[in-house]
């Protein structure tokens, strides 16, 4: 298909509610129409320009001030329209939720981060999304609201396929909730891409809890290796309760590359992804492991 990305040729109605209640009413009214929620627009508008995606309505949620917040009180609560720039400027995100910081920091460029939101990255449900692996290993939940009420879903259960989620047509992501993490834990995120600002060929997030030399708990997620971001559960089991040393990490790396089943696509090949998965996991575990020590020390001395 010939595409002209200078203009947005598709026609649609534009809705821009000022309150959450108004937005939920509009979603209810238009649940039979094809309505898309517009946050930063850095994915949705590109899709509308370059694919045959058509919508009846775009509902911008950028004017809903009550969804623009970052609450660091207990754990982390992120409002749906809080920009990615805002999130990585928060100190607690860097210290306690390091994998999320690294995931967002690896995304695109400052201008895109000034527009994009974490809720938009989730809603877009790309298997290459850089915020989903960190959110998954950090045990994050998504709060979905509709006129009928609200529910929370683990990020892990939220996406069901490429661009597909468990969201109903009348639902809206209003908040991302990340639980407080234990003092002995740490996390890391790594990605491979063509150039730094590019989409991931493969990405990996690791969360672990450390007690001296033993890995007490651990969660691992890989992106760009299946139709959704996936957990590497067998690899996690292999690490849990073990004394972490070079051999164990090596075993985990082998297990991980057996557990994932990537495909060839425009960004990379299955072979490359398999070869990288083990190496990235090794590096991510080592990174998170060393951080867990540092974190403990600084807390003791502080």
């Amino acid at each position: 298909m010939q595409t002209n990305t200078k203009i947005l040729a598709k026609k649609f109605g534009y809705l821009s509610p000022d309150t959450l209640q108004e937005a939920l009413t509009l979603l209810d009214v238009h649940k039979k129409n094809h309505l898309k929620i517009l946050a930063g627009g850095t994915d949705l508008l590109v899709k509308m320009k370059t694919t045959d995606l058509n919508v009846d309505y775009l509902m911008s949620i950028k004017n809903i001030k009550e969804l623009d917040y970052l609450d660091t009180d207990k754990g982390l609560k992120i409002g749906a329209i809080t920009t990615l720039s805002h999130i990585i400027k928060e100190k607690k995100v860097k210290t306690d939720y390091t994998a999320l910081f690294e995931g967002i920091h690896s995304m695109a460029a400052p201008a895109i981060r000034n527009m994009g939101t974490i809720a938009g990255n989730l809603g877009n449900a790309s298997p290459a999304a850089d915020t989903i692996p960190p959110l998954m290993v950090l045990g994050a939940k998504v709060k979905l609201q509709s006129k009928q009420g609200e529910r929370t879903v683990f990020v892990e259960d939220f996406t069901t396929g490429v661009g597909k989620t468990v969201m109903e047509p009348d639902e809206l992501i209003s908040e991302i909730i990340i639980p407080e993490i234990s003092k002995t834990s740490s996390s890391a995120f790594l990605k491979k891409s063509r150039v730094k600002a590019d989409l991931s060929k493969i990405n990996c997030a690791v969360y672990l809890e450390r007690r001296s030399n033993v890995c007490q708990d651990c969660r691992i997620a890989f992106g760009s290796v299946a139709t959704t971001v996936i957990r590497a559960r067998k690899t996690e089991e292999l690490l849990k309760g073990k004394v972490i040393n070079v051999d164990v990490i090596h075993q985990a790396a082998i297990e991980a590359s057996q557990e994932i089943k990537p495909i060839d696509d425009i960004r990379s090949t299955a072979d490359y992804r398999l070869a990288m998965a083990g190496i990235m996991l090794r590096d991510a575990i080592e990174l998170a492991w060393s951080r867990a020590v540092k974190g403990k020390r600084s807390k003791k001395s502080g």
């Binding site: 947005l8 950028k62 201008a111």
Partner: protein, 176 residues
């Protein structure tokens, strides 16, 4: 599809316009307001040539709906100079020959200004990191990084002078 009225500030001037829901900010600026300093490069958020400020933050005008700027403050490359006096970043780009074909320059300058606001004294690595969303097809990156470094140095010197000036002023006041 009806036109929607919007109001905004553009380079310190109030504007009222009617736009279609699918009008993009870049085309509003270039085709309706004839501010052609903002460039269309890729249209999909890869190149940074269409960068403008909305409420003092750099964003991409090719991925921004014109209707969404209602009530906002827009600054384009045309709004940087004060009369005939160029912005220090524009001067630095000229001085260090950080302009080849010039197509990426408006976006580069705006992003660089945002960088120095966030980080007045960036290292070369930090400059490259922050500017990674602005692509120069002439590959004139060496001069661009030099210009930004020089501008930062100049600004810091200026700030020091300002501080020294104010200390001197304060002493004088105290002496009086």
């Amino acid at each position: 599809m009806d036109k929607i009225p919007i109001q905004f500030t553009l380079n310190s001037q109030n504007k009222q316009m009617l736009v279609f829901p699918n009008d993009l900010l870049i085309n509003l600026l270039r085709d309706e307001l004839y501010l052609t300093g903002t460039k269309y490069g890729c249209g999909i958020g890869e190149c940074g040539a269409c960068t403008v400020f909305i409420d003092d933050e750099p964003i991409l005008s090719c991925l921004t709906l014109a209707v969404s700027i209602n009530g906002k403050e827009i600054i384009t490359i045309e709004g940087l100079a004060k009369g005939n006096e160029l912005h220090p970043m524009q001067i630095a780009f000229l001085k260090h020959a950080a302009v080849q074909c010039g197509f990426c320059t408006p976006g580069m300058i705006l992003t660089a200004i945002a960088l120095l606001r966030e980080n007045p004294n960036p290292t070369e690595e930090e400059i490259k990191e922050y500017m990674r969303g602005n692509i120069c097809r002439c590959t004139g990156y060496v001069q661009i990084v030099k210009a930004i470094k020089a501008c930062a140095k100049e600004q810091n010197k200026q700030n020091q002078h300002d501080t020294i000036d104010s200390i001197v002023m304060l002493r004088r006041c105290q002496d009086d």
